[in-house]
């Protein structure tokens, strides 16, 4: 009995989505990036096409509140200056995209004004040439205004705006449609909800090629297995031909830094920061192996490790 390699052919294909717009495309980015487009599981190049490698998005948070102290020395003083932070993502750390998280707009924390948020996004757009994404603070009423202002201020740049949630998607969908931007559809570890979000957005008028899905990435040790399986199932659903699931997936792996085990002091488990770097790298690697097209990350060394690992999976190294 000879061996006949059992290759899989899937009827479906992940939709190709473009992030960022160059001058010719109506924006000011030096490059626009494509994600998705594959007709198989990630890195199964022995049986499917994977025209675009997964992209690394680095996060820029406009408040220090969420950045663990142990990271301050590596990321450095830039964390105090979101614009400098964004510049470092592009110049020093090789991010494909940067996502500006406007957490300080939170009315229960710093409550930064809509104008300040808008100015920050404009400054970031002026200071970096890579495509960007912008997330609000998660408070619906405030985000409605913030994201609208951001949308207007970045007209034509094809920014991906987030996060659209089941109970709060209309204002953000309207903002993304108004100026030719994209949208990030968030769902909470629930395949049906992920699908429902895409349906809601499309019914509202958002074109499918303007949507990427965030199915919620749980960090290593914090329920990663749930996300891993949800991502695999979303991916398989898309490949088996469900057009409402064929949007590329983004997984926010910066959550690794909120896992207590990543940074706890415990000499048996080695130095906290290095352990945290592996914690984030492995969270992101699992996301990609399961099916993520974009990963959001924070630590430059974790980004470097992930990039090397992805190159190896892609057949290099």
């Amino acid at each position: 009995m000879g061996f006949d390699a059992p290759r899989e052919k899937y009827p479906g294909r992940i939709r190709e989505v473009v992030i960022g717009a160059t001058k010719e495309q109506g924006g000011t980015r030096s490059i626009s990036l494509k994600v998705g487009g594959s007709n198989g599981l990630q890195f199964h190049s022995f049986e499917s096409e994977m025209p675009h490698r997964p992209l690394v998005v680095m996060d820029v948070v406009d408040t220090m509140r969420v950045v663990p102290e142990q990271l301050l020395s590596s990321i450095g003083p830039v964390v105090k200056e979101p614009v400098e932070w964004a510049k470092a993502c592009e110049r020093d750390w090789g991010a494909d995209i940067c996502v500006v998280k406007l957490q300080s707009a939170n009315p229960e924390e710093e409550n930064r004004s809509v104008t300040e948020c808008e100015t920050l996004v404009k400054d970031v757009l002026r200071s970096v040439s890579i495509p960007i994404m912008v997330y609000g603070c998660g408070f619906e009423e405030k985000d409605a205004k913030v994201i609208e202002a951001v949308s207007n201020a970045s007209k034509g740049e094809r920014v991906f705006l987030g996060l659209a949630e089941e109970k709060a998607y209309k204002s953000i969908a309207a903002a993304s449609m108004a100026n030719g931007h994209g949208i990030v559809a968030f769902s909470n570890l629930d395949i049906n909800l992920a699908k429902q979000m895409n349906i809601l957005l499309m019914d509202f008028g958002v074109k499918p090629e303007n949507i990427i899905m965030d199915p919620l990435m749980a960090a290593l040790g914090m329920g990663l297995e749930y996300s891993y399986s949800v991502i695999e199932r979303l991916r398989l659903g898309a490949l088996l031909g469900d057009p409402v699931l064929q949007m590329p997936l983004v997984c926010d792996c910066s959550c690794a830094w909120a896992a207590p085990e990543a940074l706890e002091e415990n000499p048996e488990r080695g130095k906290p920061e290095l352990r945290g770097i592996y914690w984030e790298t492995m969270t992101a690697y699992a996301a990609v192996v399961a099916g993520a097209d974009l990963v959001v990350m924070r630590h430059p060394q974790a980004v470097a490790k992930l990039r090397a690992a992805l190159a190896a999976l892609g057949g290099g190294a």
Binding site: D4, M222, Y228, E268, R275, A286, A290, A308, A312
Partner: protein
């Protein structure tokens, strides 16, 4: 699995009834449902027996390395994706002591491996096996290393491609049932001979393609080796993913017997190898052997293995009880949540962010989340009251106040009635806890 009719055709068909079933067909139906053993039939021919055992065997053979309660099991998987059922046998992790480093270093490595264990979410997790390898060092050092490894409790892997040296190492291994690594196209027959003589499991590897690997495994089996472990090529992560995926698929979807065995991946300690080890855990490597790797990496790798091999059909639970977060005292706030581990860890992490010490009362809800257990009637004012009483909360805390998850604010009245405690409705999402805790602890 063969059907009752397939089985029936192989039975004697004499309806003697000695198996306690009236007819051979009735017996065949019971066999197909795995309700009886074939041994109940005194007249089945040896050929039929072999054929039935073959067709009834699991798609991937279960191979055990070592003896006693530290023995490791590999293979016997039935799925390509964990969400389809579960992955049964966590990737076995091992460290290799190489004689190229000299005997002292080898001994040190063997001892290190023995102690590479951690406690994580209530389980003891560890590096499971010790490998002893002959590469460029002295054969006598290798054999001394084998003695050292045999004397410690973990299962062992013997790594040498020299059949004669392997036979010497096997002679030192007693009844420890080591894994023999490995038979290659170059040493195939003598190495298979060694494995056959001692009946220890054997790694088959070094093939240039999966086709060649499957032929080697088939030949080893025909030569009398029953416990086989496959080592496909893993020159790059890409190559490793392809080979392990193809082996798993061929075994499970095509029931291709020559590849129906567990797999092993042997790596070093480069950054590239560390990521390959993670890939092996996620994508079908039954065993991963590493050089000594940094602890900062080993711990997350073990966490990844625990995550991936968690049974998706069973919610992971934490033990119900009253947990201190930080160093709470009798005046610290008290919160309750359920014993679904994901809920517990999220609530705990968010509470820790507040830097305010609290008591966290974990109510037994059979591992369901807040909303699910509330809907299922497992998280009720009565069950919370019972937990408060069992944990003697009122003796440990004088606040007489409890914060309840915002999602179950509806139970406030009844809970207040049953406990006499002041009820504070917490946030709907635990991410709101830091702010909320700051406000109530003033």
């Amino acid at each position: 699995m063969p059907t009752a009719m397939d089985i029936y055709k192989l039975l004697p068909r004499k309806n003697c009834g000695e198996c306690k079933f009236p007819t051979c067909l009735a017996f065949a139906m019971q066999l197909a449902n795995q309700k009886v053993a074939l041994e109940a039939c005194p007249y089945v021919s040896p050929e039929a027996k072999a054929q039935l055992e073959e067709s009834g065997a699991p798609p991937i053979r279960l191979v055990t390395v070592g003896v006693s309660d530290l023995a490791v099991k590999m293979g016997d998987e039935t799925q390509l994706f964990r969400h389809d059922k579960t992955f049964y046998h966590p990737t076995v992790l091992g460290f290799v002591a190489d004689d190229a480093a000299g005997l002292a270093k080898m001994k040190e490595r063997i001892q290190q491996t023995k102690f590479a264990m951690f406690e994580r979410v209530g389980q003891i997790v560890r590096v499971d096996v010790v490998g002893v390898k002959h590469s460029s060092g002295k054969p006598e050092d290798f054999l001394e290393g084998v003695k050292e490894a045999v004397a410690q409790p973990l299962p062992i892997v013997l790594l040498t491609e020299d059949p004669k040296l392997m036979a010497d190492a096997v002679a030192l291994s007693g009844q420890k049932k080591p894994l023999l690594y490995r038979a290659t196209p170059q040493n195939f027959e003598p190495m298979v001979g060694v494995a056959k003589a001692c009946c220890f499991p054997l790694v088959v590897g070094g093939a240039s393609s999966l086709d060649e690997l499957s032929q080697m495994a088939d030949k080893a089996k025909k030569a009398g080796v029953t416990d086989i472990v496959l080592e496909p090529g893993s020159s790059s992560a890409s190559n490793m993913l392809e080979n392990l995926t193809m082996i798993r698929r061929a075994a499970i979807k095509k029931k291709f017997r020559p590849l129906g065995y567990p797999t092993v991946t042997v790596l070093g300690r480069s950054e590239n190898d560390l990521m390959k080890a993670s890939l092996g855990v996620m994508k079908y490597s039954s065993m991963v052997l590493l050089d000594d790797v940094p602890r900062e990496f080993l711990f997350p790798l073990i966490a990844l293995r625990q995550n991936i091999f968690t049974d998706p059909q069973v919610p992971i639970q934490v033990k119900a009880g009253l947990y201190p977060v930080g160093e709470p005292n009798e005046k610290s706030p008290v919160l309750f949540t359920t014993n679904f581990s994901l809920t517990y860890f999220t609530v705990r992490a968010d509470a820790e962010k507040s830097k305010i010490p609290i008591w966290l009362l974990v109510v037994d809800t059979d591992g369901q989340s807040v909303m699910t257990s509330f809907a299922a009637g497992k998280l009720t004012p009565e069950s919370v009251t019972k937990a408060i009483e069992t944990e003697k909360l009122k003796e440990k805390n004088a606040r007489n106040e409890i914060v309840i998850p915002g999602m179950v604010s509806r139970m406030s009245g009844k809970l207040n009635e049953l406990t006499g405690m002041k009820i504070v409705v917490g946030p709907r999402e635990s991410s709101g806890l830091p702010k909320m805790l700051k406000s109530i602890s003033g």
